[in-house]
Amino acid sequence: MLAAGFLRSPYARARIRSIDLDAARRARGIVLALSGSDLADIRPLPDMGSRLTKRWLDRVRPRTQFPRQRLLAEELTHWVGEPVAVVVGGDRYLVEDALDAIAVDYEPLEPVVDLRRAAHPDAPKVHPELEDNVIFDFEVALGDAAGAFATAERTLRRRIRSGRNAAVPLECRVTAAVPNVRTGELTVYSGTQTPHTLRRTTAECLGMPESAIRVIVPDVGGGFGGKNSVYPEEVLVAYLARRLGRPVKWVEDRRENLLSMTQGRDQDIEAEAAFDGDGRVLAVRVNQWLDCGAYEPQGPVVTYQTFTHLLGPYRIRHLQFHGRSVATNKAPQAPYRGAGRPEAVLVMESLMDGVASELSLDPAEVRQRNLIGPQALPYNVGIPFRDGNDVVYDSGNYPELLNRVLDTAGYHSLRSQQAERRKLGGKLLGIGLACYVEATGTGPFEGAAISIDPSGEVTLATGGCSQGQGHEISLAQVVAELWMIEPERVRIVLGDTAHIAYGAGTYASRTLQLVSAAAVEASANLREKLRLLAAGLLEATADDIDVDLQNRRLAVKGDPSRAVSLAQVARAAAPGWGSTGAGDGAGLQATAYFAPSTQAWASAAHLALVEVDPAHATVIVKRFLVCHDAGRVINPLLAEGQIVGGVATGLGGALLEEVVYDEAGQLLTGTLMDYLIPAATDVPNVELDHIETLNPNHPLGVKGLGEGGTVGAPAAIARAIADALQPLGVDVDTLPVTPERLFRLLQGEAQPSHSAK
């Protein structure tokens, strides 16, 4: 197995005058070294706009201009960390030696790093072939916001900034490609969240038929969205293996990961609310800028998702929203756990607290006055989702979620304690709330291929995969119940393109939801087939047949002596002389692809209790409560694990995590000592509660929940800190609330922007 390594650009924006690979090629143990000009026989990555549906484009009519991402930088570099050359050799140590020997002549150019300035039409262009840096621009109006603002009793404005975050899965990216030189086939092992998409993209770029490529996803050490995009490195490893006729493996190191895995958040949002004297929010106007770095490999998903989630579970009938993705010379942005939702919730919860503050009302009371009640569902929000369909909250009980966390927390008692502490001085208590809805289970589809072995073992294969969610277990539970056998006799095959023809992947809190629905459909089809085959053998009708997988037999109802074994049915299902099975229907297997009609809307309420120490500018999260609704919960232990993990991630975004670039576009947070993810001493025990309102569009009533904890926690913690500091008259409008930012808040100073000075 050969090792591959990448030379990465040290400049955010530079012209590449020349690359000298001679010394690298002659270095000990090196077999190949390539730069961008050596890749004439590979096609570029597909257009990132290719994921946009026509229906959505027709409704929203955005302005889009998507730059084409190169596999290796050619004339221009676009961010510090962009791959510029690749080297292949005996092991990673030798490859690193050779990378050091590559001489690149760069002409550094002025980089574009300030988000708001980058959006200006006259700003230097990140991509010279585009008109400007605004690669996605859209406006959507709901109702009559202008009219509502003109006649409103009160208005308020906020400017909310969410710092840039990195996914930081504990395992970095890894790709290995093994060519079969005799047949021309290629097997690619990658820690990807989307094996079928990786296969399709690799096939397109390498000019190979998809059927000649197999993608296998082994155990993956975390993804969180960072492994959802198809990366240049993955395609190049496949190319190198094929070109060399030898297995090639690339193992990313943490430095590369912090430099060039896709990143998230990084939004600057100006929001206004119009409200009445009772605290009811009537209209919201938003101007959004999202810093998408050099590319958006998955298109404008995050930017638009902030829009669709902004109104949340609140009854607001007028909205004016103008959103943009702005290119800068930073790492590309793609969905990262939450994918635009946390930023939306942060804005809305800030507005709600603003309303409470202006009217001297309790923040929980203001929310209750605005929440959509359960009797109003299904509730058509009146805005288009990214699939082009209306956003309709299908089921839920938002007031119940809030009431439960308030109850469990002892809200009124906490307010009393807070008041006491304020009189005493010293450390301050703060209570923060976040109520939100969360679209889960995005289309277009996911599949389940179910097959039955004559031994009675049932196998489910799907294009979904696991980075720690435990899908192997929860899906086995579903199959076991559908077929009335023990989970131990169910085999789940995830993330292997050889086992199912089509797949979308694991992201957007979709896998258990969509695959279980597909499993229900495939199982129904397969059960029907079994009955037909058995009926044929027993000269009965299909309706008269009992399927007993436990005992591996099928019998006529009421007459157990007339029975056939599963093995007999399997033989009958196989094509052959005198058999009934033939053509497409042969074999004991059925595949179904479930295409959801629309998103399933999960929801939750979060409550954070924080203690702020003004003397040391520190924040401790003392308690954190969640009441969530993800429809029917298949495995409570796994579900809770996802929520607690998500809350920890959200806490990181609220207090610790920030990707920082300087004015030269240099990454300042290039190690885990600089980019801080929560440690065990940072996260409290999360108190969990849940309700179940079944998803009416799903056979089992399941909704998604993988991102939920992350969606609400940043807002809850930010609002808790703001609540603690209320007597000082300062508000929290920038995340993360690092000790420095908190110190400045306490001093009454303006917040520093995200680039370091």
């Binding site: 140590y93 504990l170 190191d253 694990g641 920890a648 000592m673």
Partner: protein, 187 residues
């Protein structure tokens, strides 16, 4: 195509050591990390690379009875010493009490941080058989986990401590700790 030369830059050094209670040996370049030696040379892939700069703890192993970062240790530094990795915890197919507890309490999701977490937990339970929650969290504060939020990891370690307190298990860990006379003073 000619085989790429694997001839090392600095010459290979032969070394012997104890790994998981058994003698092991290797021929390594001086610059080879202990992490890579364990994974590539000895094929003990339970120890994981998370950052290669000593912060995340995924590479934690036990050297002469103390946890160390194998990403910050050169293989040659442990010549003649005693190394334990996660592979030394189970007895054949029988998981150790700690591993069982992680399994029961859902103390792992992706599992990437888990071997390092187990090593730190072993060290904690060796030093304190009845740690409180704060002590547990502090002991694992050098092992980053992105999946679990730590709650169930704390529960897992607490479960083993409880079982030990109740006399349900004889020892919290296996025969990992060297006899006092074999401890050597290293960094």
């Amino acid at each position: 195509m000619p085989e790429p030369s694997r001839a090392p830059l600095f010459g290979l050094v032969t070394m012997e050591l104890q790994v998981n209670g058994r003698p092991a040996e290797g021929r390594v370049e001086p610059r080879k990390l202990l992490l890579d030696f364990l994974r590539d040379d000895l094929r003990l892939t339970g120890t994981h690379a998370g950052c290669e700069h000593g912060v995340c703890g995924a590479c934690t192993v036990i050297l002469d009875g103390r946890t160390v970062r194998s990403c910050l240790t050169f293989a040659l530094q442990v010549a003649g010493h005693d190394v334990w990795t996660v592979e030394g915890m189970a007895q054949g197919d029988e998981l150790s009490p700690l591993q069982n507890a992680f399994h029961q309490q859902h103390g792992l999701q992706c599992g990437y941080c888990t071997p390092g977490m187990l090593m730190s937990a072993l060290e904690l339970l060796h030093e304190r058989s009845n740690p409180n929650e704060l002590e547990i969290r502090q002991a694992i504060s050098g092992n980053l986990c992105r999946c679990t939020g730590y709650q169930n990891i704390v529960k897992s370690i607490r479960a083993v401590a409880d079982a030990y307190q109740a006399g349900a298990i004889e020892r919290a860990m296996g025969d990992i700790w060297p006899k006092p006379e074999r401890r050597s003073s290293h960094g």
